[in-house]
């Protein structure tokens, strides 16, 4: 599914990723944990193709397709979804319109028929309900006036609607209260816990992993994966801290 091999990347000429390798097979959920400044968010942006994040070596493929060659919108059409740590507010653009156009742009790129207005609204209602989000919120401008938790739930509604093959979720748990954390965790399971899908969960804390059980946990430090284990590794990190475990 997702194969990252010896990935090197810089931001403003500063090396951040320094030989990162990782394989996520279909049906698996992997968690990446690590201290501040390790390169977690950089990894998510490099995978998404954000301008300003320069790949200087290595490769990334999704089901054999070279992701690094593709523009951000082409990566989306290829089945990649990026859950943002800080979802962007876009005044004046309604969520419903944005998501319908996005879903149909992806379908068009894959040679599929566009969703009609009715089909789209039915899908959006279903996914909003899954994340316990009021449909009226999706009629508002994208993320404008949303609380931190609402933004994160809205990210998951988007993921549900766009139905990606692979999701990279960058600190989707930050800013969530206990109830919202459970709702988001259950949402991730419902949408992505499938034999043909994969997830890379980037997180600081073990608590999201109580709801979304990872198959593997990796520790990212100084731009590389320095340790890999099962779910128990997250618990060990929580107890002992990064320094003790990585040393």
């Amino acid at each position: 599914m997702l194969n990252i091999s010896n990935l090197h990347a810089t931001v403003a000429d500063k090396p951040i990723l320094k030989g990162l390798s990782l394989n996520v097979n279909a049906g698996e959920i992997h968690a990446i944990m690590g201290p501040n400044g390790a390169g977690k968010s950089t990894l998510s942006y490099v995978l998404g193709g954000r301008p300003g994040y320069t790949v200087t070596g290595g490769s990334v493929t999704l089901d054999g397709q070279d992701l690094l060659e593709l523009e951000p919108h082409e990566r989306a059409a290829a089945g990649l979804f990026l859950g943002f740590q800080y979802p962007v507010e876009i005044p004046g653009v309604s969520f419903v319109q944005f998501l319908r156009e996005s879903a149909n742009a992806q379908r068009k790129a894959r040679g599929e028929e566009p969703l009609t207005g009715g089909e789209f609204l039915k899908l959006a209602r279903e996914k909003a309900a899954l994340l316990r989000m009021d449909m009226d919120m999706l009629k508002r401008p994208v993320n404008v006036g949303f609380s931190g938790g609402e933004k994160k739930r809205a990210e998951m509604v988007q993921m549900g609607i766009l139905d990606p093959k692979f999701a990279v979720l960058d600190e989707t748990d930050s800013g969530l209260d206990i109830d919202a954390l459970r709702i988001v965790g259950e949402g991730i399971n419902a949408i992505m816990r499938k034999p043909d899908k994969g997830v890379l969960l980037i997180t600081h804390y073990q608590r999201l992993l109580d709801y979304v059980k990872p198959d593997f946990v990796h520790v990212l430090a100084a731009g590389r994966i320095v340790k890999t284990g099962g779910p128990e590794l997250a618990l060990q990190l929580e107890e002992e801290g990064y320094e003790a475990v990585v040393a």
Partner: protein, 244 residues
């Protein structure tokens, strides 16, 4: 509105950013259309400038009269819209419009809004989107006469540059001879938010689709309250798509 007996030069404040060569071909300018709105009357007009030229409108609003002018300025090498509006007691004037320029177009909106008597309100909102080597200019003067207390006047002028080679000029001007007035004005020139564009593209929109969505939102306010809002929006969207 200035009386123009000879072709102006760029030394003239009102034509500082104009395309003088293009202006020379249009010279002499047509006489302005004069509109007198009687007390408590209402006037509305949508100006679609799609082929170049100068449109001039002089509006006088009687006591308690209202007027709404909306415009879309996008056609020809040189498109200029001049408005001269005088408000008498308690009158209300709304202007909203967009200028969408590309290539080497020069587009201008020049307004003089005079609050001649007390308690009148005026609101002006102009949004420009400029690509290539286009120039978009908004010159807006608000004059408040002596004794025109209770005036409430606002101007909001914003421009979005799609290329670093495009130019936006904005010059608000206030001339106030009364004491108790509210006059707000704001100008901003910027570029599309790169973070927002990446966010939209990460969901599958192509770069032109993402830009169109953001620019549509940027200009949408300009047509709020317009009688044929749908037509103006549709024309503006078609123009934006052609520009991207």
């Amino acid at each position: 509105m200035t009386d123009l007996s000879a072709l102006p030069t760029r030394k003239s404040e009102e034509f500082r950013y104009a395309d003088i060569d293009a202006l020379a071909k249009l010279w002499p300018l047509p006489e302005p259309e004069n509109i007198i709105v009687p007390a408590s009357g209402h006037f509305s007009r949508a100006i679609v400038q799609d082929s170049g030229g100068v449109t001039r409108l002089v509006i006088s609003l009687g006591k308690g009269a209202t007027a709404a002018v909306h415009f879309l300025n996008f056609g020809g090498d040189y498109g200029r819209i001049e408005l001269d509006v005088t408000l008498h007691e308690g009158a209300d004037f709304t202007l909203g419009g967009a200028q969408l320029g590309a290539g080497s177009q020069t587009l201008e909106i020049v307004t003089t809004v005079t609050h001649a008597e007390p308690n009148a309100e005026s609101r002006q909102l102009v949004r420009s989107v400029l690509a290539g080597q286009a120039t978009g200019t908004c010159l807006g003067k608000v004059a408040v006469a002596r004794g025109a207390n209770g005036t409430d006047a606002s101007q909001s002028v914003r421009a979005m540059l799609l290329d670093r080679t495009a130019t936006a000029n904005a010059r608000p001007e206030l001339e106030i001879f009364a004491d108790d007035v509210k006059c707000a004005h704001g100008c901003a020139v910027g570029e599309l938010d790169a973070q927002g564009l990446f966010y939209l593209q990460s969901r599958g929109l192509t770069p032109p689709e993402a830009k169109r969505l953001m620019l549509h939102a940027f200009i949408a306010e300009a047509f709020t309250g317009a009688e044929d809002r749908d037509r103006l929006e549709q024309l503006a969207l078609e123009r934006l798509e052609a520009m991207l």
